[in-house]
């Protein structure tokens, strides 16, 4: 693992490099002004960083990319829906929504952790299916229970038929309240200072957490479950805690995300959030088993530059606006696919390197056959 050559570095940074190239080609073609681009990217850092940071802890615990971060997103949405119905507005509304979301996220994270403990070795596909499964439960709650069981008063939120939540819930009363709490404008670039402070605090928490006993245990579990178990670490509990933390942070992150957007798409806001956050993290040079705070920010900048620039560039090149849209979706998926493939091949390579002669023979045999 330790003998890093130039080739290893190239491989490690191949995805960010590719994105730098895509952005450099597309940005001039798109014809967007640098000022606009910088403004957009700063906004998007504020909007997404918290969500993406929530992915770091499960990676530390060796549970791979947490596709079930959508669970937290759903909890955050439920918090916001309730708070809007109670007519609690502004920053207090956000704080209350976070407080409401935390118990829900904790429960969902607990469920998720327990299920993932039963599916060791295939955490990612399982967490991916969990997100679909819980989406069903979410729809059950939001579409049928809100109204008759969970009281919802306002007709702007409730569907006219008397139960269920409308397709979009307006968050006008807290739209960008956090972003504009401490207004700052540098050369035409609006900087959401308060949001950045919150994100910075989470970064500090993550750095501190790594040094705690629990954080150390988590890293040990991520390295090798059996060894950690022998060392007296409660592996199952540690993994569950990592899922709970990730889900809770994702819930808070979703609230920050939605306050910037200004409305909730009740049935679709959360569904893609996991995919895009994971893609952004991977673009920043993270892998399935290794991710840092630096990856998060580099990832947001590169991924979102591509996201803004690609449709415009696509329209200019092909004359069809849809091409660029499809292109960026394709790139998002392709990035995740490539990252997963690299992770699995590296895992195999390391295994065979460390393995016995038998394993080496098998590799050779496979290569020949």
């Amino acid at each position: 693992m330790k003998n890093k050559s130039i080739g290893d570095y190239l491989r490690r940074f191949s995805v960010p490099l590719m994105f730098v190239i895509i952005c450099l080609i597309c940005a001039p073609i798109s014809g967007l002004s640098p000022n606009y681009l910088i403004n957009e990217i700063v906004t998007r850092i504020g909007r997404n960083a918290f969500l993406i940071l929530s992915l770091l802890i499960p990676i530390m615990a060796g549970m791979g990319l947490n596709f079930s971060m959508t669970l937290g997103a759903m909890a955050g949405e439920i918090g916001l829906i309730l708070v809007s119905d109670w007519q609690i507005v502004g920053i207090p509304g956000m704080i209350l929504a976070m407080i409401v979301s935390i118990p829900i996220s904790t429960l969902l994270g607990l469920f998720c952790g327990k299920v993932l403990n039963m599916a060791k070795g295939r955490e990612m596909i399982t967490s991916y299916i969990i997100s679909f499964f819980i989406n069903g439960i979410y729809q059950l709650v939001v579409l049928y229970l809100m109204g008759p069981v969970i009281p919802i008063v306002h007709s702007t939120i409730k569907l006219p038929r008397g139960y269920g939540i409308r397709n979009t819930v307006s968050l006008l009363s807290m739209r960008q309240h956090l972003d504009n709490l401490i207004p700052l404008n540098i050369m035409g670039v609006k900087i959401p200072v308060a949001t950045f402070i919150v994100i910075f605090l989470l970064c500090l928490v993550i750095i501190w957490f790594r040094k705690t006993k629990l954080g150390q245990d988590m890293r040990a579990v991520g390295q090798d479950m059996d060894v950690s178990r022998d060392a007296g670490i409660d592996v199952e509990r540690t993994r569950i805690i990592s899922m709970i933390l990730s889900t809770v942070f994702a819930g808070i992150g979703m609230i920050i995300y939605l306050q910037n957007m200004g409305n909730i798409a009740t049935y679709s806001s959360h569904s893609q959030i996991g995919m895009f956050c994971i893609a952004a993290l991977l673009v920043g040079g993270a892998s399935v088993d290794k991710a840092s705070i630096g990856n998060v920010f580099l990832g947001i900048i590169l991924f979102h530059t591509m996201f803004i620039v690609a449709p415009k560039a696509g329209t200019v090149i092909t004359g069809d606006s849809m091409i660029g849209e499809y292109f960026r979706v394709f790139v998002s998926y392709a990035v995740i696919t490539v990252a997963l493939i690299m992770y699995e091949t590296n895992k195999r390579k390391n295994k065979s390197k460390a393995g016995m002669q038998l394993a080496l023979d098998q590799e050779q045999e496979e290569a020949n056959g």
Binding site: R44, R47, N48, W86, Q87, I88, V89, G90, I91, P92, G93, I95, L96, I99, V100, I102, F132, Q139, L143, H154, S155, T156, L159, P160, R161, G164, R166, N167, S173, M261, A265, Y267, S268, S269, S271, Q272, F276, H304, F307, I308, E325, Y326, V329
Partner: protein
Amino acid sequence: MDKSKKRRLIYRIAAFVVILLIAAAMFIIGRGHTVYFDNKMPENVGTEVSVPYKIEVIVADKTVAKLKSGERGMADTMGQNFKMQLLVTKEKGGDAARLQVGLKLPYNMDGIIINLPALLAGLDENAYLSEFVYVPSAEEMKEEEVVTDDTDGQMNFEG
């Protein structure tokens, strides 16, 4: 060992209580209201009051409404202590009188109508303050199709 467990329990309970207190505080300070200002003759009051030619309503250093006689304006506010400045012009071309008004809003009302002439005349609360009941338009009450399609969100991600 037992002692540290006990201490941990105490910490947890304390944290829980603190969070509950924060939540309660948020409920109180974060309650949003929409305040509507009417510059017209109050109904069902009995006494006649004079309706000024024009009233400017200033909330938090921002002019939210300039109301000629018979008009209505609105402002969103947070919490129950509502402060506003009124610039009252009695007659056309006359001088504007500035006055500071502080009101206590009832917690359970989303929308509140304040009849400014009645307020200025110094009538009691149920004369100038009434609830605004939101009546959704026919457009809003039209049944909407709920879209829960899995593939729907693929393309319109705002990032």
